[in-house]
C-alpha cells in the first residue's frame, strides 16, 4: 500500500535519530528492524489482496441474479467455496510463518545477553534514573544518575528495579523495553554495536512528569569508556575560588545534602540524583534541560517551574547563594 | 410496505408460568450465578497468585485460622440443604402450606449462619491490614458473607410475601423454587472457599 511505502521511506531518511526504533545500533534493535520488515511485507500483501477484492466487489460492472429482486438471494456462485478455503489457508500459513519468525527472533534476542561482561543496576524513581555499575569489589563500583555509558560491542546485563511506581526502561536504538516494577526484579540485555549518543525514555506512565524522564546513553569505544569510568571513580574536587567554596558550604550544610550525594564531601543524601560528576553529564533533571550554565541557574533557582511536580522544591535561594551553588556545581566534572 | 397479518397458531392455551429452564427469571438467576461464580473464581485465582509470592502460607508469625467456627458453619450450611430441598419440592408440587411452614425455618437457619459467620471473622488470626495474606483471606470471607446476607434477606422478604395472598399465585412458587436454587449456589461456592481459608494455610506451612 502506498501509505505503508511512504512509512518505509520516512524510516530510511530518519535513521540518524537519537531515539528511534529504526536506529539499529543495538543487536536487539537490529533484529527488530529485520523482523519489522518481514511483517511489513507480509501485511502489505494481505492488505492489497483485501483492498483489491473489496474494490472489485463494489465497483465491478455486472448484474448478478442472486439478489432479492430476482427472488434468489440465498444462492452463491461456485467460486465462493474454493476462494474461502484458499483465503483461510493463506491466513493460516501467513500467521504460522510470522509466529515462527517472531519466535526465533525472540530466541536470538535472548542469546544476546547470555554472557554479560558488564553489569549495572538501574533503579527508577519518580522522575529520574539511579544508575550503578556493579562489581564484586565495591571500590570499583560507580554511581551516577540519568546517564549510562556503555563500551561498544560488550554484552551488558542491566538489573532493573523501582523505588516507587512502575516505570519502563527503553532505549529504542539499542533494544526493546522492559518494565521496572516495585517488589520485583527484572533485567534487560544490551549489546550495542555502534558508538554514538542515544536517548532513552521512561515508557510506562509513572505520574506527573512521566514525559520528562529521559536517560542519556553514550556508546563509546572501550578506551573512551575506561577513561570515563576512571573519572567517575574520583571523588569530587576541592572547591578553589571563594565563590565555589560558598556554594560548597551551602550544599553540604543546607537543604541540598539531605537528598543529594556528592562523594568526597559530607553531602550524603540518597533519595535524589548523585551529583558527584553532575557537570560532566549531557542534561539536567533526566533530560529536561541541556547542560549549560544558564540552565543550571534556572534549575537550581526554580526547579518547579522547569519541571512542575518534581520532588525538588523551589526554596527561594538568595542571589549570592545561587551564584555560589552554580559555581560549585560546575566544578563537578 | 406494511405487511397484513396472516394468522397462524393461537397461543391463548399456553401456560403462564413454568419452572426451571422454562422460566424467564430462572435464566436471570443463572446469569447472576455465573457472574458471581466468575467473581469467586477470580478471587480464588488472586488467592493463589498471592500465595505464590510467599515461602510459606500462612506466612509466619501468623497462625492459620482456627477451625471451629468455620467447620461449624460448613456443617450447618450442608444440613440446610435438607429443608432447602424440601422447600424446592413443595414449590414444585404447588404445596403452598408446606412452603409457608418451611420458609421461617430457612430464615432461622440464615440468622444462625450470619451469627456463626461473625465468630468466623474473629477466628482468622490475622487482620486484613496485616499483609496480603490477611487481605485475601478477609476478602474471600467477606465476599461470601455478602451472599449469605443477600440470600437471607431475600428469604425473609419471600417469607413475608408468601404469607400474603400473593402466595397463592403460582408464579411466587416459581420464585420460591429459584430462591432455593440460589441457596444451593451459595453453599456450593462456600466449599472451595472453606478449603482455601481454613485448610490450605495449614497444609502449606
Amino acid at each position: 500500500m502506498r501509505r505503508e511505502g511512504l512509512l518505509a521511506l520516512l524510516c530510511l531518511s530518519g535513521c540518524s535519530g537519537a531515539q528511534t526504533a529504526f536506529g539499529g545500533q543495538g543487536a536487539e534493535d537490529a533484529n527488530f528492524i529485520q523482523l519489522f520488515t518481514v511483517f511489513m511485507i507480509v501485511c502489505t500483501v494481505m492488505y492489497l489482496l483485501v483492498s483489491a477484492a473489496l474494490i472489485v466487489a463494489v465497483w465491478r460492472r455486472r448484474r448478478t441474479a442472486m439478489v432479492v429482486e430476482d427472488c434468489n438471494h440465498q444462492a452463491t456462485s461456485g467460486v465462493v467455496r474454493p476462494a474461502l478455503i484458499g483465503w483461510t489457508a493463506l491466513i493460516a500459513i501467513g500467521l504460522t510463518a510470522l509466529t515462527l519468525v517472531g519466535f526465533f527472533t525472540d530466541r536470538s534476542n535472548a542469546r544476546n545477553g547470555s554472557h554479560p561482561q558488564l553489569k549495572l543496576t538501574v533503579t527508577a524513581n519518580q522522575w529520574w534514573w539511579d544508575v550503578e555499575y556493579d562489581w564484586a569489589d565495591v571500590s570499583k563500583s560507580v554511581r551516577t544518575a540519568n546517564e549510562i555509558h556503555l563500551p561498544v560491542g560488550i554484552p551488558v546485563e542491566v538489573t532493573l528495579k523501582s523505588n516507587d511506581v512502575i516505570h519502563s526502561f527503553w532505549i529504542p536504538n539499542l533494544a526493546g523495553k522492559q518494565d521496572l516494577i516495585p517488589g520485583r526484579r527484572t533485567d534487560a540485555q544490551l549489546l550495542p554495536r555502534k558508538t554514538g549518543l542515544y536517548r532513552g525514555q521512561c515508557a510506562e506512565f509513572c505520574g506527573t512528569q512521566h514525559a520528562q524522564m529521559a536517560l542519556d546513553v553514550t556508546v563509546e569505544s572501550k578506551a573512551d569508556f575506561e577513561k570515563w569510568y576512571g573519572a567517575q571513580l574520583q571523588t569530587a574536587p576541592v572547591p578553589k575560588t571563594p565563590l565555589q567554596l560558598a556554594g560548597y558550604r551551602y550544599i553540604t550544610t543546607r537543604e541540598c545534602a539531605s537528598c543529594h550525594n556528592i562523594s568526597g564531601t559530607s553531602a550524603g543524601g540518597q533519595v535524589a540524583p548523585d551529583l558527584t560528576h553532575f557537570a560532566s553529564r549531557r542534561s539536567i533533571a533526566a533530560g529536561t534541560l541541556p547542560m549549560n550554565t544558564g540552565n543550571i541557574y534556572g534549575w537550581v533557582a526554580d526547579p518547579q517551574s522547569q519541571k512542575p511536580g518534581n520532588h525538588m522544591p523551589t526554596i527561594g535561594l538568595k542571589a549570592d547563594d545561587l551564584h555560589g551553588i552554580v559555581a560549585y556545581l560546575e566544578t563537578l566534572k | 410496505m406494511r405487511h397484513e397479518p396472516e394468522f397462524a397458531d393461537d397461543l391463548s392455551a399456553l401456560r403462564t408460568h413454568a419452572f426451571s429452564y422454562r422460566s424467564l427469571t430462572w435464566w436471570g438467576i443463572i446469569a447472576f450465578m455465573v457472574i458471581e461464580g466468575a467473581f469467586f473464581a477470580l478471587a480464588m485465582a488472586a488467592y493463589f497468585f498471592l500465595m505464590a509470592q510467599e515461602q510459606e502460607w500462612a506466612p509466619r508469625p501468623w497462625s492459620p485460622p482456627d477451625l471451629l467456627a468455620g467447620t461449624l458453619f460448613t456443617a450447618v450450611m450442608l444440613l440446610s440443604e435438607v429443608p432447602n430441598t424440601m422447600i424446592k419440592r413443595a414449590a414444585n408440587a404447588y404445596d403452598v402450606a408446606a412452603v409457608r411452614k418451611l420458609l421461617p425455618v430457612m430464615s432461622a437457619i440464615g440468622l444462625l449462619l450470619v451469627i456463626i459467620r461473625g465468630f468466623e471473622f474473629n477466628s482468622l488470626n490475622v487482620f486484613w491490614y496485616d499483609n496480603a495474606y490477611g487481605s485475601i483471606i478477609w476478602a474471600l470471607l467477606f465476599l461470601h458473607t455478602t451472599h449469605i446476607v443477600t440470600d437471607w434477606g431475600d428469604t425473609l422478604v419471600l417469607w413475608q410475601l408468601m404469607k400474603t395472598p400473593h402466595g397463592e399465585d403460582p408464579r411466587r412458587l416459581v420464585d420460591t423454587d429459584e430462591n432455593a436454587l440460589y441457596w444451593r449456589f451459595v453453599w456450593l461456592t462456600w466449599l472451595p472457599i472453606y478449603v482455601l481459608i481454613y485448610w490450605v494455610p495449614r497444609l502449606f506451612r
Partner: protein, 645 residues
C-alpha cells in the same frame, strides 16, 4: 378459595386477546393503553420501555463521545508543536485519563449496549425485553457513574492515573487524594450497568425470540449481541474485583497490590487485562453485527455463509479470553510462556479474516447500493484491516517490546476502535435512524460527513505509527524538538480537527433530519429483518401481532402477508416465551409495568457508593435503603389472582 395447583390447571378465561377478532386499529388502541408510559415527567422517569432506555443510552453515550472528543482536541493542540506549553503536565494527565476512561467506559461499551437494547427485541419480534426494570436500572446506574466522573473532573478532582490505573501509582501511597477513588467507583457503576444490561439481553435472546426463530435463524446482529453479552458476563467481574481490591487498598488498608506487605502490583494487570482485552471485542463484535446487517441489506441478498460468520463471532468471543498477557510482554514474565499468547493473539485474525471474507463475498455476489451506511462499511474494511494487521505485528514479542506503549499502539487501537467500531456505528445510526425517528437522514450531508471522517481519520492517526517508531511514548504531555516528531504530530493535529468538524456535521445532520427529514415508510431500505415489519417509529408494544418466523430473512421471504401468532392478552402486558434452541412457543409471560423504583434504587446505590469513598461504614449503612428499594421494586403489584389466565 382454590388452591394454587387447581388454579394452575384452569382453562383460560375470557379476556381480550389479539387475533382475527381483535386486530387493526381497535387492537392498537388497546395495546397502546396497556404498554404506554404513565403520563408526565414521573411517567418518563418510570419508563421501562426498551426503546426509551436504548435511545437514552445512545444519546447519553454520544454526549460523552463529544466530551471525550473535546479532550482529544485539547491534547492534539498541546502536542501540535514540541515543547508546547498550552496545557501543563498535571492537567494533561487528567485529560488523557478522562479521554480514555470516558471513551471506553462511558461511550464505547454503553453505546453498543444501547443499540443492542433498542434493536434486539425488535429484531427478534417481541414486545419488550426480559427484566425491563433491571434494564432501566442499568441506564440510571450508567448515567450516575458518568455524572460522578465528569462532575469530579469539573471540580478538579478528576482521576489522573490513566484509564488503566496501574498500582502502585493508583495506590494509597502515590495516588493521593480522592481522584483514584472516583475513578474506581465510576468503574463499579459502569460494571453494574453493563452487567445488568447483559443479563437482560441474554435472557431476552434466549427466551423471547419470536416463534420459529430458532438459533439458526437469528439475525447476525442478534448473535453478536448474545456473544458480547456473555463476554460481558464473564469478563466484567474481573475488573470489578480488581477495582474493588484497589478501593479496599486505598480505603481500609488492605495490601493486595502493595509489594512491601507481600502484595503484587502485577496482580492488578492480570485482572485488568483479563477484562480489558475482551472489552475490545465487546466493543468490536456488535460493530461486526451492524456490518453484517448493512452489507446484506445494501447488497440486496443474504449474507454469504451465515454459519461461518456466526462461528467466527463465537470463536472470537472465546479466543478473546486467552490473550490478556500480550498487554504484559514488557513486565518480565517467564519468556517461554509468551509464545502461547503470541500464537493465540495472532489466531484471532483467522475468525476476523473469515468475517471480512464473507462480507466482501456478499458484496461480490450481490448488487451493492452505495448509500451512506454501506459507505461506512467500506470505510470500515479499509481502515480496520490496517488496525488488524498492526495488531498481528504487535503480537510478536520482539516487535511489541519496541512498539508497546508508544504512539504506534495509539495508532493501532484507534484504527481498531474508530475504524472497527465507530465507523460501523455511524453507519448503523444512519441505517436505523428512520426506525427510531420515522425520518431518513440526509444522504448529501451524510456523504460529505463520511468522506471527511474517513480521510480526516487517516490524516490524524496514520502519522502516529511513525511517531511511535520514532520513539514517542504514550501519555506524554510534551516531547523535545529534533527527534523527527514535529511533522507527524502536526499532521495528526490537523487530521483531528477535520474529524471533529465532520462529526459535528454528522450531529447537525442528526438534528436537522430528526426535525424535518424525509418521512420513512416502515421498511425504507427494503431490509429483511423483523424490526422493519413494524412502523417507524415502533409503537410502545413493538408489534400488534407477534410474527411467526420461518427463515433467516422473514421480510424477504414473506409474501403480501406476514404470518403471525395470536392469543396474547392485550389489557395486561404479556409476551411469549419460546424454547431456547428451536423457539417453540412455551409460556405466556407477564411483563413488568413501568416503575420509579429502578431510579430510586439507583439514587440509593449512588449515595452508598459515593459516601463509601469517604467512609467504609457507608457501605453498612447505605445497604439498608438499597435493600428497601430493591424489595419495593420486586414486590408484585397486586396479587395476580389472574395468574393462571
Amino acid at each position: 378459595m382454590k388452591s394454587a395447583a387447581e388454579r394452575a390447571k384452569l382453562p383460560p378465561a375470557d379476556v381480550p386477546r389479539d387475533g382475527p377478532n381483535l386486530t387493526g386499529e381497535e387492537l392498537e388502541t388497546k395495546l397502546s393503553t396497556t404498554w404506554s408510559n404513565p403520563p408526565g415527567f414521573v411517567g418518563w422517569l418510570s419508563s421501562v420501555d426498551h426503546k426509551d432506555i436504548g435511545r437514552r443510552y445512545v444519546i447519553t453515550a454520544l454526549v460523552f463521545l463529544a466530551l471525550a472528543g473535546v479532550l482529544a482536541i485539547a491534547m492534539r493542540l498541546q502536542l501540535a508543536r514540541p515543547d508546547n506549553d498550552l496545557i501543563g503536565a498535571a492537567r494533561y494527565n487528567e485529560i488523557f485519563t478522562m479521554h480514555g476512561t470516558t471513551m471506553m467506559f462511558l461511550f464505547a461499551v454503553p453505546v453498543m449496549q444501547g443499540m443492542q437494547i433498542y434493536l434486539t427485541p425488535l429484531m427478534i419480534g417481541t414486545r419488550s425485553n426480559a427484566f425491563p426494570r433491571l434494564n432501566a436500572f442499568s441506564y440510571w446506574m450508567y448515567l450516575a457513574g458518568g455524572l460522578l466522573l465528569w462532575i469530579a473532573f469539573v471540580l478538579n478532582v478528576g482521576p489522573d492515573v490513566g484509564w488503566f490505573a496501574y498500582p502502585p501509582l493508583s495506590g494509597p501511597q502515590f495516588g493521593v487524594g480522592k481522584r483514584v477513588d472516583i475513578w474506581a467507583q465510576m468503574i463499579t457503576f459502569t460494571e453494574v450497568a453493563a452487567l445488568a444490561a447483559a443479563v437482560s439481553l441474554t435472557a431476552t435472546i434466549l427466551k423471547q425470540k419470536a416463534p420459529g426463530m430458532s438459533l439458526a435463524r437469528m439475525p447476525i446482529f442478534v448473535w453478536a449481541t448474545l456473544v458480547t453479552s456473555l463476554m460481558v458476563i464473564f469478563s466484567m467481574p474481573s475488573v470489578a474485583l480488581a477495582s474493588g481490591m484497589l478501593l479496599s487498598d486505598r480505603l481500609v488498608g488492605t495490601h493486595f497490590y502493595n509489594p512491601a506487605e507481600r502484595g503484587d502490583a502485577l496482580l492488578w494487570q492480570h485482572l485488568f487485562w483479563f477484562f480489558g482485552h475482551p472489552e475490545v471485542y465487546i466493543i468490536f463484535l456488535p460493530a461486526t453485527g451492524f456490518v453484517s446487517e448493512i452489507v446484506a441489506t445494501f447488497s440486496r441478498r443474504s449474507i454469504v455463509m451465515y454459519p461461518i460468520v456466526v462461528m467466527s463471532l463465537v470463536a472470537t468471543g472465546i479466543l478473546a479470553f486467552g490473550l490478556w498477557v500480550h498487554h504484559m510482554f514488557a513486565t518480565g514474565l517467564p519468556r517461554i510462556g509468551y509464545s502461547f499468547y503470541t500464537a493465540a493473539s495472532m489466531s484471532v485474525s483467522i475468525p476476523t479474516g473469515l468475517q471480512i471474507f464473507c462480507w466482501i463475498a456478499t458484496l461480490w455476489e450481490g448488487r451493492p447500493q452505495l448509500k451512506v451506511p454501506l459507505l461506512y462499511v467500506i470505510g470500515f474494511i479499509f481502515t480496520f484491516v490496517i488496525g488488524g494487521l498492526t495488531g498481528v505485528m504487535i503480537a510478536a514479542v520482539p516487535l511489541d517490546l519496541q512498539l508497546h506503549d508508544t504512539y504506534f499502539i495509539v495508532a493501532h487501537f484507534h484504527y481498531v476502535l474508530i475504524g472497527g467500531a465507530v465507523f460501523p456505528l455511524l453507519g448503523a445510526i444512519t441505517y436505523w435512524f428512520p426506525k427510531a425517528t420515522g425520518r431518513l437522514m440526509s444522504e448529501t450531508l451524510g456523504k460529505i460527513a463520511f468522506w471527511m471522517i474517513f480521510l480526516g481519520f487517516q490524516l490524524a492517526f496514520f502519522p502516529m505509527h511513525i511517531a511511535g517508531i520514532y520513539g514517542m511514548p504514550r501519555r506524554v504531555y510534551t516531547y523535545p524538538a529534533g527527534m523527527g516528531l514535529e511533522l507527524p504530530n502536526m499532521l495528526s493535529t490537523l487530521g483531528s480537527l477535520v474529524v471533529s468538524t465532520a462529526v459535528l456535521l454528522f450531529v447537525v445532520n442528526l438534528v436537522i433530519s430528526a426535525r424535518s427529514g424525509r418521512r420513512a415508510a416502515p421498511n425504507p431500505w427494503g431490509a429483511p429483518s423483523l424490526e422493519w415489519a413494524t412502523s417507524c417509529p415502533p409503537p410502545p408494544y413493538n408489534f400488534p401481532h407477534i410474527p411467526l418466523v420461518s427463515s433467516r430473512t422473514p421480510l424477504w421471504d414473506a409474501g403480501e402477508k406476514l404470518p403471525v401468532v395470536h392469543g396474547l392478552r392485550v389489557e395486561d402486558r404479556e409476551l411469549v416465551l419460546t424454547t431456547v434452541m428451536s423457539a417453540e412457543p412455551d409460556v405466556r409471560e407477564p411483563s413488568p409495568e413501568p416503575s420509579p423504583w429502578p431510579l430510586i434504587g439507583t439514587v440509593a446505590t449512588t449515595a452508598m457508593f459515593v459516601c463509601s469513598i469517604f467512609s467504609p461504614w457507608a457501605v453498612l449503612v447505605g445497604v439498608v435503603p438499597v435493600a428497601l428499594a430493591l424489595t419495593a421494586w420486586f414486590w408484585p403489584k397486586s396479587p395476580r389472582l389472574s395468574g393462571s389466565l
